[in-house]
C-alpha cells in the first residue's frame, strides 16, 4: 500500500515537472522545430507567394550553390564575417579577462568602474552602433597619427601587424562587447579562496605565475562559456554583414525565401563550426 502511494507520488511529481516545462516544449515545437523543418524544405526549393498561398517547387541544391558560388553579395559578406569572428572573439575574451583582473583588486571606486564597464551592454543596439560608426565616434580619432600606430603599420610584417592594428581600430567596439563576459569572469575570480593566493605567495610564486597557474585554470570553463556567448552575440547583432544579406535576399524577387533559407542554414553551420572550434580550444576537460 505504502509502496503504491509512494509510486503514485513519484509519478505525480514527474507529471508536475512536465507541466512546468510544458510551455517550453510547446514553444520549441511551434516556434523552433516546425520552422527549422520548414526552412530545410525551403532551402531545397523555390518559394513563390501566390494569391492562393505558398507554392514550393523542389530544386535540389541549387540554392546552396547559388549562395556559395554565384551570389556576389554573399561572397563579399562571408569573408567579412569570418574576419570579424576570428579577430573579434579572441580580442573580446582577452580584454574581458584583463578588465576583470583590473576589477578584481580591492580598490575604492571599484563599483563605479564596474558599473561603467557594464553600461554598454545596456545601451548597445544596431542603430546606435551604426550611427556612431558613421560619425566616426566608434573609433578613437587621431589614433592613426600616433607614432606607435604608424610604426606598427609601416615596419612590422603584415600578418603580425594586422591583428594589432585591428585592436587599435576597433578598440571601442571590442570594449563595448565585453560587459557580460567581464562580469562572469569577475565573479568566477572572486570565488577563488584568498588563502590559495597566500599559500602560493609563501611558496614564492610571482603574480605572473599566480595568473597562469591559479586564475586561468579556475576560469577556464568560463572562457568556453564566454566564447560561445561572444560568438552568438557577434553573429546575431544587427550589423552583421551576413544577416543583412539574408534579410535583403528574403524580399528580393530574384532570390526569395529559398535562397535566404539556404543562406541561413549555411550561416548556422558556420556558427556551429566556430562553436566547435572553441570547444576544442577551451571546453574539453583535461584528464
Amino acid at each position: 500500500m505504502n509502496m503504491v502511494s509512494k509510486l503514485k507520488l513519484r509519478s505525480r511529481k514527474q507529471w508536475l515537472g512536465v507541466l512546468f516545462v510544458f510551455p517550453w516544449i510547446a514553444g520549441f515545437l511551434i516556434f523552433t522545430l516546425y520552422p527549422l523543418v520548414t526552412t530545410i524544405i525551403y532551402s531545397f526549393s523555390t518559394v513563390r507567394f501566390k494569391l492562393e498561398g505558398v507554392s514550393i517547387t523542389y530544386e535540389n541544391v541549387k540554392n546552396f550553390t547559388d549562395v556559395l558560388f554565384k551570389d556576389p553579395e554573399f561572397k563579399l559578406a562571408l569573408p567579412k564575417y569570418l574576419v570579424q569572428i576570428f579577430y573579434f572573439v579572441p580580442m573580446v575574451l582577452v580584454f574581458s579577462i584583463l578588465l576583470s583582473l583590473l576589477l578584481n583588486n580591492n580598490l575604492k571606486g571599484r563599483s563605479f568602474f564596474r558599473a561603467l564597464f557594464f553600461l554598454p551592454v545596456i545601451i548597445i543596439s544596431g542603430p546606435v552602433v551604426e550611427n556612431l560608426q558613421t560619425m566616426g565616434a566608434a573609433s578613437l580619432q587621431g589614433l592613426g597619427s600616433f607614432p606607435v600606430y604608424r610604426f606598427i603599420h609601416e615596419s612590422i610584417p603584415d600578418f603580425i601587424a594586422a591583428p594589432v592594428l585591428y585592436v587599435f581600430d576597433n578598440a571601442i567596439m571590442i570594449l563595448w562587447y565585453t560587459g557580460v563576459q567581464t562580469l562572469i569572469f569577475l565573479s568566477a575570480m572572486q570565488k577563488i579562496d584568498r588563502s590559495i593566493y597566500e599559500a602560493s605567495m609563501v611558496d614564492g610564486a610571482s603574480s605572473w605565475q599566480l595568473f597562469w597557474k591559479i586564475i586561468i585554470p579556475t576560469i577556464k570553463p568560463f572562457i568556453f562559456l564566454n566564447s560561445i556567448y561572444t560568438i552568438v552575440d557577434v553573429s546575431m547583432s544587427t550589423m552583421n554583414p551576413i544577416i543583412i544579406e539574408i534579410k535583403n535576399a528574403m524580399f528580393n524577387i530574384k532570390k526569395g525565401f529559398g535562397f535566404a533559407a539556404a543562406a541561413s542554414w549555411i550561416y548556422f553551420f558556420i556558427i556551429l563550426l566556430t562553436v566547435l572550434i572553441s570547444y576544442f580550444l577551451f571546453g574539453r576537460e583535461r584528464k
Partner: protein, 313 residues
C-alpha cells in the same frame, strides 16, 4: 650590543614596511590610471555624442571647436525628439516591451523551476536540447514564423513577440531559463518538503516560497529582457513594419523620417538641414531612457547578477 642590534633591526623593518607600503600605493595609482584610461575609452563615444549634439551648424564645420561648442544649441534635441516620434513612441515602445518582458520573465521562471526541481524522463535530454537552441540564429527560424504570424493576421501587433516570450522562445530566452534554473537549484529542497508536509500545493510552493527567494534572478531576467527587447531592431522592423514605432527603429530610419518631417525648402538656410548634430542628438535621446533606468537600478542589478549564480557554486 644587543640593544643596538634590536634598534637596527627595527629600523630595517620599518624601512621594509614603508617600502612595501609605497610599492602598494604605487601599484594602486597605476591601477587607477589604467582604469581611468579604459573608462575614458568606454565613455568616448558618449562624450563625442554629447559634444556633437550640442553644436550648431557653424560649430560643426569649425575645426577649432571639438569638445566644447561655443554655445549649447538645444534645437538639435527638439528636432530629433520630433523625428523619433516623441512621447507617443516612447510610451508605446516602452509599454509594449514592458509587457513582453513581464511575460518572458514569468515563463522563464516557470520553465526554469521545472528543470531545476523535478525529475522526469528525458529531462536531461530536453535540457541539453534547450541549451543547444541558443546557437540557432533567428534567421533560420524566422521565415516560417513570419509567414505563420502573417497568416494569423498578427503582423503589426505585439503578438509575434508576446507569444514566443510566453512559451520560452523569446529573445535570448535560453539565458534567462538557465539563470532561473541555477537559482532554483540553490534553494534547498528541504524547504519545499517542509511546505509540502504543511499542506501547501505545488503552486503555493512555487509562487509563495521559491519565487520570492529567487528575487535576484527575477531582477536580472526582467531588466535584461526589457533592455534586449527594447534594443531589438531586426525582428521589430520585420514584424511591426511601420505600424508600431520604437526609438531604435526610428533611429535606424532617421534620415528618411527627418526628410519627411522637415522637407528642405529653403536651401539657403543650412540650419534646417539634416546634420551630424541632429543625428547624434537622436542617438543620445534613444539611449537616454536606458541610461536613466540603468542609473536607477545599477546597484541592485550588479548585486543580483552576482547572486544569480551565473557562474555556479
Amino acid at each position: 650590543m644587543v640593544n643596538i642590534n634590536i634598534k637596527n633591526l627595527r629600523r630595517v623593518r620599518r624601512f621594509a614596511v614603508t617600502r612595501q607600503h609605497l610599492k602598494g600605493s604605487m601599484a594602486n595609482l597605476l591601477l587607477y590610471i589604467m582604469m581611468t584610461a579604459v573608462g575614458f575609452v568606454f565613455l568616448y563615444p558618449i562624450l563625442v555624442m554629447t559634444a556633437e549634439s550640442t553644436k550648431d551648424v557653424y560649430d560643426l564645420v569649425n575645426p577649432l571647436v571639438r569638445w566644447f561648442p561655443t554655445k549649447i544649441y538645444i534645437a538639435n534635441f527638439t528636432r530629433a525628439w520630433v523625428v523619433l516620434g516623441g512621447f507617443k513612441t516612447l510610451l508605446s515602445s516602452g509599454g509594449y516591451m514592458l509587457l513582453v518582458a513581464i511575460c518572458q520573465t514569468i515563463s522563464s521562471a516557470v520553465i526554469g523551476y521545472g528543470f531545476a526541481k523535478f525529475d522526469f524522463k528525458l529531462k536531461n535530454a530536453l535540457f541539453m536540447l534547450m541549451v543547444c537552441t541558443f546557437i540557432i540564429p533567428d534567421q533560420v527560424t524566422f521565415m516560417p514564423n513570419y509567414l505563420m504570424f502573417k497568416s494569423f493576421g498578427m503582423l503589426k501587433t505585439i503578438m509575434p513577440f508576446l507569444l514566443p516570450a510566453l512559451l520560452g522562445q523569446g529573445i535570448k530566452n535560453v539565458i534567462f531559463i538557465l539563470i532561473y534554473c541555477q537559482f532554483f537549484k540553490m534553494i534547498p529542497k528541504a524547504l519545499d518538503e517542509a511546505a509540502e508536509i504543511d499542506g501547501a500545493g505545488f503552486l503555493r510552493i512555487f509562487a509563495g516560497i521559491n519565487l520570492p527567494l529567487a528575487m535576484p534572478a527575477t531582477v536580472v531576467v526582467f531588466i535584461f529582457s526589457f533592455v534586449w527587447h527594447w534594443n531589438e531592431t531586426y525582428l521589430t522592423d520585420l514584424y511591426f513594419e511601420d505600424a508600431i514605432r520604437t526609438f531604435p527603429l526610428a533611429l535606424s530610419k532617421f534620415t528618411e523620417y527627418f526628410q519627411k518631417l522637415f522637407p528642405v525648402e529653403d536651401f539657403a538656410n543650412p540650419m534646417l538641414r539634416m546634420n551630424e548634430g541632429v543625428r547624434m542628438a537622436g542617438t543620445l535621446l534613444c539611449i537616454l531612457p536606458l541610461v536613466i533606468m540603468y542609473l536607477l537600478v545599477e546597484p541592485k542589478l550588479v548585486e543580483s547578477l552576482d547572486r544569480a549564480g551565473i557562474t555556479g557554486e
